[in-house]
Subunit: 418 residues, 2 copies
Amino acid sequence: MTNLIQMGKDAKSASRVLATLTTEEKNAALHLIADEIEAQADFVLAENAKDIEDGRAAGLSDAILDRLLLTEQRVKALSDDTRSVANLDDPVGSVMDARVLPNGLRLSRRRIPIGVLGVIYEARPNVTIDIAALSLKTGNAAILRGGKETLRSNIALAKVIQNALEKAGLPISSVQMIDNPDRAIVPEFLRLDEYIDMIIPRGGSGLHRLCIETSTIPVITGGIGICHIFVDESADLEKAVDIVENAKVQRPSVCNALDTLLVHPAVAAEFLPQVAARLAESKVELRAAPKAFSILKNNEDVHPAGEEDFDQEWLALILGVKVVADLDEAIAHIHEHSSEHSDSILTNDFANATRFVDEINSSAVYVNASTRFTDGGQFGLGAEVAVSTQKLHARGPMGLEELTTYKWVAIGDWHVRK
Amino acid sequence: MTNLIQMGKDAKSASRVLATLTTEEKNAALHLIADEIEAQADFVLAENAKDIEDGRAAGLSDAILDRLLLTEQRVKALSDDTRSVANLDDPVGSVMDARVLPNGLRLSRRRIPIGVLGVIYEARPNVTIDIAALSLKTGNAAILRGGKETLRSNIALAKVIQNALEKAGLPISSVQMIDNPDRAIVPEFLRLDEYIDMIIPRGGSGLHRLCIETSTIPVITGGIGICHIFVDESADLEKAVDIVENAKVQRPSVCNALDTLLVHPAVAAEFLPQVAARLAESKVELRAAPKAFSILKNNEDVHPAGEEDFDQEWLALILGVKVVADLDEAIAHIHEHSSEHSDSILTNDFANATRFVDEINSSAVYVNASTRFTDGGQFGLGAEVAVSTQKLHARGPMGLEELTTYKWVAIGDWHVRK
């Protein structure tokens, strides 16, 4: 019987302890977790094997089973990753804007943990270790809700983490796993605003919408990328083909992959056949709006686009293609259809590049680069908790700093307000 | 007939224009608004007079009527305040963390407006001008929902603002007022997440709770202060009396006023009678827990505290008083009862001051100062949009910067991800 309120209380209580730890103490705990993962690898693999067996019996595809599967090598990667988190800089404790006010009050802002994080994610069991390590590093307690397909693996990994927390002398409630696979528990979880400070959904748009609709806790929404590249009249077309191919083909299943290609009419007749030929090598299906279709109609795997095709996050080898009248129409199209994740212009025109950067307010705006760079690792954040496309708190790739907040600290000399 | 969806669409469209304005253009519009307020003062006063007449007929108290009332002088203050906002620094456009990544991608974060703000507030009509000016200064569109008691005044002020926006050549939908006083419209307003990026409630705990429960838009919660002062054994008791008086009496109706006084047992017998005598001068009623009551029981206006008295934001000349065993119990009491707004320790003990600052994670944590300093103006922010007590986005007094977000801007040299 899952008692969510008790889990919330325990997490809040643990968060008070975590918030006062030094970086050295947190790193020591992370190393103990890494050691424990290695020591308990057989246990974790055995529990994962049961999940895989159930998944196979339930008819999950080989591709999905591979995502759920842990191997000796993958377990080793979990412990290695945990040690890497120990090596990252700790944002907690940094002091900002320190100053002495005119009245002598010494004021500053100090970075502190958020408190208790609630994380809901889908299949892959490595997220359990990943989120636990990032939460602990930033002094946050975490309550995790993993996918039901790897319930046993997740419970095993949480147990391993709690063993290590106990060895470190830390509250085992610092990391808790919801062990009830019933979906009905999620709305209840999302209303624990008395105990949980932030919800991070890691999954598809259905999960994000459920959190937006139901949660009384602030939610970090994002991870849905309807990404655009606009090929301007002055673009280097050869390099543009490389960038479009990279953005669409390198890893089509991720949120920063390209969804819609917009092309200036002056180069459409030359560029579209080139890019279509290159994309055909990777069997990319094109969904072309009328002008683009009239240019490409003799190519294989080119289909007329329905208007809804420009509101799709494809996550597959499919690409919407449209010839727009000019930069104005490209910007207007992006304003209407973008999920504000990652949008790029390819151009050699300085004024157009500047306008695009000024007028597109997506989380990541590019000039002459692939949208695939929107990533915590690529941006040098050292870690990636999520990619936010909302406006509050954090935008784009979220690193460790985005798992913190701040408090104002004011040191007086027996100050009263006049 | 209020069409909220159309208002949302218009606001979003206006926000695209506002986001590209220069600071000079925004300041020029603010000056036009100030001029228009002065030019239309008679109109505004006439509309306000009708609100006041209705309020008197409805039996509103003189104190409340005074809060609703506009006078020539108060209208002049509105235009003066608008010009002051023009003089503030504009946070939009500032660039953070600019760097060239190892692969040559030039990456930075640029501060941009949030987009569309939804603001719900209670009686005072000056909030209409205040929020409109701060939104415009930061390039945000705003949809306002004021209190029904000043509906005519608010509609008049919004009309004045829109006249000025038109003169400035800006979209009049940059600032819109919901003219339907029906309460049933609020839940619908709170679900316009397709168009509104942030909800700021300015009112009591009922309004905040409604927003938390109902809104699908991120909400800035706060403004509820259950504030504590702990008088430690080593405090300068004479100065401590001054600080407690200042925190409780100077302006009891605001969120940073003191609600609970915690006292170390070693000084309770000496300090409590002194502070009670001082507070009696201002007719402060004390609600004392048993130990404090036994010391103060012969004073006038001292009553035994019920346990619920320590979970009250009094907003009145009432103060909870409790003797705690030591710093540990003081911290535990604050963890349990504080709304994480403003909490202070009065001490000359360095270790205790340090522990208090480390372990209390309220929005503002004080040593040897009154809680009354938690204020945008006092903290040097130049303005105050709200006081946040939540963990995400902003904590404590919110200035102009907290009405902005950022985008990542990446300039490549035809970069593809390897």
